[in-house]
Symmetry: C2
């Protein structure tokens, strides 16, 4: 029973990052998202992954493996759009 | 030794939300932050808190209690500034 709660907790916190990935991808902007938060979160989730493996807790392993992918995607998209938007400011597209 | 890793993982993922709280507070904008992500994350972290209590894992309890406070703060600030900014658009301050 307790493990199911762990799975539900892991599932919820894991899928919670999906709307953020979609939002950054759709708006092509992650300006309000803190790079430090995403970088620290990626590192911390990696540590949770190791911790979960050591105590052999499947809910922690699965949740943090998927979270790592999603959080890294948010960080990656934020950096790409920050760079693209700054290039646009420097050299606006012809005809604009 | 393993519990120390759990504490470090918990500490890192917990403090990771602090820069985001500061950023939203400073920029007075959380436009790029997904409400769904923060709401689901708050709920999921609450479940982790219950899970951690049931398996009596101190790293999970402490990490998720503090994370819950920080994530709720981000959600709260985002909603406040979203409302304030939309009011500004409707009725710009006199003299603007």
């Amino acid at each position: 029973m307790i493990d199911y709660l762990g799975f539900l907790a892991g599932f919820t916190t894991t899928v919670s990052f999906l709307p953020q990935v979609v939002r950054v991808y759709k708006t092509k902007s992650g300006r309000d998202i803190s790079v430090w938060t995403m970088a620290l979160l990626s590192f911390g989730v990696l540590l949770w992954l190791i911790y979960g493996s050591l105590i052999m807790s499947l809910p922690i392993i699965i949740a943090n493996a998927v979270t790592l992918v999603l959080v890294s995607a948010i960080l990656f998209l934020k950096l790409i759009y920050a760079r693209r938007n700054s290039l646009k400011e420097v050299a606006p597209v012809d005809g604009n």
